[in-house]
């Protein structure tokens, strides 16, 4: 959205997979008068938020809450679980898998990456074999790699890696697709506030059960030190001044999610994914993300022949106030991504598809007009059982 083209009153539409749209009541919570983080007013909000996080993570264990981007929570796992020189396995099938690799390398670990084509889903048996062969005690993966739309079967990955500690980056998937932290035995789950938790960015989390804390190494990070943060949190007294206003927002957002029920959210995300895929295909575009119900987080489509993807996204933003996400790295200009995580309903998908159809036509592409939106609504209505 470019201010010299759009006026301030022209509407903006945010269809990106993070930051995602934030409900007005969640935004309003961030504007409440400041209170002290050690006073009773805040402690009440803090305790409730920590409790709600456990419900959303579906764990009985502590969920540590950091003031940081999601990458901070990712680094916390590496800094607390792995010693320099230690062999770890990273499962990489997109840009965020490569982020695990970069974090581990910066910490001096011996990284064995199991790499898949971007857009391909990891194979649990293959990962299990690599882990056994490598002797790695820690395995790091994504549940959803937002760069491709692929959602991995982390339940199968945990079954395949056995006793190794599995760290799952669920930054873009927590609250969108099922993740049964305790029931599936996932050792560590990291997430962030600005995706399906429909809150402003700036908070990151890591679920850390006692058996994982026992295996922790001396943390190489002071700020992200798990035992220090856990001790403080246990006393409802954050180790460092927390982002008070963001915690308030998160509290309200988690309340909205849990009032409706997590299962309802999972069903809605499947339906949103179906709607987005149906619309994309109806106008004759090719999907990049998988064409099945697993792709409930983000829908990625190839930009049609003869159109530059970067120009398409710029046109959407500048002419229509619509923000979609581009491709990462080698996919830049070749795909675009529609996020549908968090505070999304079918009319958002319809608007995104209508804007894409209009913009592609304006840029001279031959696109089948007028069918996508109807297909969006039809696909959204098909029955889902999760």
């Amino acid at each position: 959205m470019c201010s010299h083209r759009l006026t301030l009153v022209e509407k903006r539409y945010l269809f990106t997979p993070g930051p995602t749209p934030v409900p007005p009541e969640v935004l309003a919570a961030a504007a409440e008068p400041m209170v002290h983080h050690r006073g009773a007013d805040f402690r009440e909000v803090y305790a409730r938020t920590l409790g709600r996080l456990k419900e959303v993570f579906r764990t009985e264990s502590d969920v540590l809450l950091f003031t940081a981007s999601g990458s901070g929570a990712m680094e916390s796992a590496v800094a607390n679980l792995c010693a320099p020189g230690e062999r770890v396995v990273v499962v990489s099938h997109g840009a965020f898998g490569e982020r695990w690799v970069a974090i581990c390398e910066q910490h001096g670990l011996d990284v064995e990456a199991v790499r898949y084509e971007w857009g391909e889903a990891p194979d649990a048996d293959e990962v299990g074999a690599v882990v056994r062969q490598s002797g790695a005690g820690v395995v790091l993966c994504q549940q959803s790699d937002t760069s491709t739309g692929v959602v991995a079967d982390v339940r199968a990955l945990k079954a395949a890696v056995g006793a190794a500690t599995l760290v799952v980056d669920a930054i873009s998937s927590l609250g969108a697709v099922p993740l049964e932290t305790d029931a599936w035995g996932i050792d560590v789950v990291v997430s962030g506030s600005q995706k399906a938790l429909m809150s402003p960015p700036g908070l990151a989390m890591a679920s850390v059960p006692p058996h994982v804390l026992e295996r922790a190494k001396p943390s190489r990070s002071f700020y992200f030190d798990w035992p220090r943060n856990k001790r403080a949190q246990d006393a409802l007294d954050a180790a460092f001044t927390p982002a008070v206003s963001l915690v308030r927002s998160l509290d309200v957002a988690l309340g909205l999610i849990l009032d409706d029920g997590l299962d309802a959210a999972f069903v809605r995300h499947v339906r949103l994914g179906r709607a987005a895929r149906a619309g994309v295909k109806a106008m004759g575009l090719e999907l990049f993300s998988p064409d099945d119900d697993s792709a409930a987080v983000v829908t990625a489509a190839r930009v049609p022949e003869g159109v530059d993807g970067t120009a398409l996204l710029a046109h959407l933003r500048e002419a229509h106030g619509v923000t979609l996400a581009p491709g990462h790295a080698h996919l830049k200009g070749k795909i675009f991504r529609i996020g549908h995580i968090g505070w999304f309903d079918v009319f958002d998908i319809a608007s995104a598809l209508a804007a894409i159809e209009l913009s592609l036509t304006e840029l001279g592409a031959h696109i089948e007009r007028g069918v996508a939106v109807a297909r969006v609504f039809e696909a959204f209505e098909t029955k889902v059982t999760v």
Copy 2:
């Protein structure tokens, strides 16, 4: 403030040195609709905020902006400047000096701490001698240690440590008392959003000039890696999803501060400090923080004989909705602290003193009644030249 005593509509008064009160227009900015951090709408805010930070830091160099508490920015200096085993000097005269020690120890540094009694100001000549003798290349200190109210002469410290890299924690002092980063040759200044910058907590900063970046070691932190964050920031493209709403708030707050002028802020803080000290003394209490104009950030007073400081602060909160700060560590229960950094005016000081006077009386202390508030206004009016 305890919700079972105070009703929701009873007013709260926040007189703590961080989080500090946030002006309504700054809070309102945090509630604006979410935008994507890579879109033009946000880039404009981001660029302006980074520019305004340079003005407040009084530096031509980059000010790196992290989504984190202030301690994150402190750790960034240690992770980027010092190699494990390296000897560093920490100047410690309060709880936050001890935080430098803890961060350095967690990073495996060889820490030589120059310790002063809490409440005492560091002696630049003495620190200079220790630095020369130790051969340390990095010296870490506080400009203001919020735990005591002491503001150190960091200009003299820089002159005394010579070629060693001086890292100044100005988390509670930046924007409250003069800090001429470039003119005084201060190598690195770290700060946070939630003190004199009168914004919500959650953003931290570090000014990093080119000569310091050249001396940087390979960062032991991925998230706080200075070169990675600098490269991204140079392209107006944060390395990690920034706390969009907090950046918007900070932008508005910095605009308010700079419109009025930093020098006006420095004068106001001196006057606020005078007012607070005059009020404390007028009711017969003993100051813990220095009784001079350097103590412009926080005023600390000893709790009178026969009164428990913890009970006093609880009474202030629960009966009157007034939040003051307690003493840290061995000073807990023995002192209380009145913050006057950021969005404070003389009526706030008067209210804080009136509430203390009232509460002490209610707790049975023999306090001279009715003189403190008058003295607050008189002292505030005395002429200041900065």
